[in-house]
């Protein structure tokens, strides 16, 4: 169960907004986190509290295929991103590095900055504790929850393949 205050963003948040290209000469998560949203929301990196949640409109994560974008968000402490829709490669990259993301048009329409959200990944139930509204999303199947909880695709596989002695 995740719980956190909401940061609100609009539509078409691109990967350059999430982490400007000039910081791509490193993949150090702490450095990426320090420059997350540097150009469009400079207060973000200073004020974000671990566990907080981003809610955005459509096409979140569009632009380049850089894995640095979800890495920066995760390292900044963001526990989950909810958007009306995601750009396809960002979607894959986020889950592959263990950052849960959920699609909900209703949440994108109604949730406000500063609202307190509770997210149940197993059931796909998102509750806005500030307004009382509940948004149902498709729950993640068990393997995807394991993957997210395990920190992403590579750690997940390392565990899975070592555990069974398979492959």
């Amino acid at each position: 169960m995740l719980k956190g205050k909401v940061w609100r963003f609009g539509q078409d948040v691109d990967t350059d907004m999430i982490i400007p290209a000039r910081y791509l000469n490193t993949s150090d998560p702490a450095v990426l986190a320090a420059h997350c949203f540097a150009d469009v929301a400079p207060e973000f990196a200073r004020q974000v509290v671990p566990g907080e949640i981003i809610v955005a409109d459509k096409n979140f994560g569009c632009g380049s295929s850089r894995e640095h974008a979800p890495l920066a968000l995760k390292a900044a402490g963001i526990s989950c991103v909810i958007a009306a829709s995601f750009a396809r490669i960002f979607y894959r990259n986020a889950l592959n590095i263990g950052l849960p993301i959920l699609e909900s048009e209703a949440a994108a329409q109604e949730v406000k900055a500063g609202d307190l959200l509770q997210v149940d990944l197993a059931e796909g139930i998102n509750t806005n504790l500030s307004s009382g509204r509940v948004y149902q999303t498709k729950p993640f199947p068990p393997f995807m929850r394991e993957l997210i909880n395990g920190g992403g695709l590579i750690p997940y596989l390392r565990q899975k393949l070592a555990g069974t002695g398979e492959v």
């Binding site: 096409n59 295929s65 894995e67 829709s85 396809r88 490669i89 979607y91 894959r92 990259n93 889950l95 592959n96 590095i97 498709k138 993640f140 199947p141 393997f143 995807m144 993957l147 992403g152 695709l153 590579i154 596989l157 390392r158 899975k160 393949l161 070592a162 492959v167």
Partner: protein, 423 residues
């Protein structure tokens, strides 16, 4: 509830009776592909998983095609990573320079992909194999690493969009024009996340090369995959190449589509995409007077034998315009040899073209034909983004091989009839 071809293939590979759009599934793959740009990253990630072998050395294809024959020291180092990995893990389908081709021309030709397969590749144009009735999509390097280790990939089941074409095509109009027209109509995000399913009598009349061209550019409309039903032409193509048994899936009559487009294409003209997006499409006669400095015929979109034949038909007995370079790149060694046997290469060289060994080369602005500031090229490739073929202030137009060949003769973008009339 009925299912589409795409849904059926995904369900079968996920071990499920049915799937519906939005489902997250974990699916078994039949083939994973990497190239000299994406595989080295995947190989680093693969090492982090800590396994000592790949899931199946016969189900991985590694193709050094982007910066090969190596254009500089960096690209040589990358290709070496690939080569050493292939040796260490005894990858059956590693294709060395001199025996290779552009990955998306090579894999179908070598019989590595077939109907009903689930294929992933760390290259966005992996969607090409949908022409054979396979589900085939581009993924990231981390996905490739995981797939090489475990033989599985997670996928979100895409909704399908149906594109129904009817009417007999005009001369000089083919698969490239149909897909450019489609992208022009729906835009570069018109099929975002979705499966593009191509159907109708016009599609049934297309040869395999035209279908590969169309499936190849599905990603240019934002799609996850493009797919065609299997028919006699598909079966004829895979017979003798694809050695494994295969399953033919068809969409149910009551399958659900997010959208359906229906187009009468009987009066469609050859299409051209103007800079800097594949959606800026116009009929060739409406592009105006566009002078060219370079024409490129090749790539995973249009570097196949029928593309070369079509270009040769125009170029035969002509010289290209004196102020222009024409670069022709056969997609694979086999295509190159067949073109030699048919006398096509001689026609090209007589016309004044530079012919190259198979490589992606200029398609991604890699090497073998980079544009200078202010230069303009017409290419049979798939992307005309800013700076795609060289200098950020250069321009790329996209067309079919016949339009490209005719334009090379005239030095500006023309309808092929202009060349044939003047002959």
């Amino acid at each position: 509830m009925g299912m589409t071809i795409s849904e059926k293939i995904l369900a079968a590979h996920a071990g499920k009776k049915e799937v519906s759009p939005g489902d997250l599934i974990q699916a078994r793959i039949d083939l994973a592909l990497g190239n000299d740009i994406t595989a080295p990253v995947a190989i680093t990630e693969f090492a982090r998983i800590g396994v000592d072998r790949v899931f199946d050395p016969e189900a991985i294809a590694l193709v050094p095609d982007h910066f090969t024959p190596n254009k500089d020291i960096n690209s040589a180092e990358q290709a070496k990573v690939l080569r050493e990995f292939a040796r260490k893990y005894q990858i059956t389908h590693y294709f060395e320079v001199g025996r290779m081709g552009i990955e998306h021309c090579l894999l179908p030709e070598q019989g590595l992909v077939g109907p009903g397969d689930l294929i992933i590749g760390a290259d966005s144009h992996t969607c090409t194999y949908g022409a054979l009735g396979a589900f085939s999509t581009g993924v990231g390097s981390t996905d490739l690493a995981a797939a090489m280790a475990a033989g599985e990939v997670w996928l979100k089941v895409p909704p399908s969009i149906k594109f129904h074409f009817y009417g007999q095509l005009q001369p000089f109009v083919g698969g490239k024009d149909l897909i450019l027209y489609t992208i022009g109509q729906i835009g570069v995000d018109g099929a975002l996340y979705s499966a593009m399913e191509f159907t109708g009598e016009t599609i049934a009349s297309l040869g395999m090369d035209d279908r590969f061209t169309m499936a190849n550019m599905a990603i240019e409309a934002g799609a996850k995959n493009g797919i065609f039903a299997v028919d006699e032409r598909t079966i004829e193509y895979v017979t003798g190449r694809y050695k494994k048994p295969y399953t033919i899936y068809t969409s149910d009559p009551d399958a659900e589509y997010r959208l359906t487009y229906e187009w009468d294409v009987s009066t469609l003209e050859p299409q051209v995409a103007l800079p800097h997006l594949p959606e800026n499409v116009r009929p060739v006669r409406e592009v105006g007077n566009i002078e060219l400095q370079q024409v490129v015929i090749g790539s995973c979109t249009n570097g196949r034998l029928s593309d070369l034949r079509a270009a040769a038909q125009i170029l035969k007995g002509h010289k290209i315009h004196r102020d222009l370079r024409l670069i022709i790149i056969p997609g694979t060694q086999e295509i190159y040899q067949q073109a030699l046997r048919e006398g096509l290469i001689e026609i090209f060289i007589d016309a004044g073209a530079a012919v190259s060994t198979p490589t992606c080369g200029p398609c991604l602005g890699g090497h073998m034909g980079i544009l200078a500031r202010g230069e303009r090229a017409l290419a049979t490739t798939n992307r005309n983004f800013i700076g795609r073929m060289g200098h950020p202030e250069s321009e790329v137009y996209l067309s079919s091989p016949v339009v490209a060949a005719a334009s090379a003769v005239k030095g500006r973008i023309v309808h092929p009839e202009e060349v044939l009339k003047s002959a």
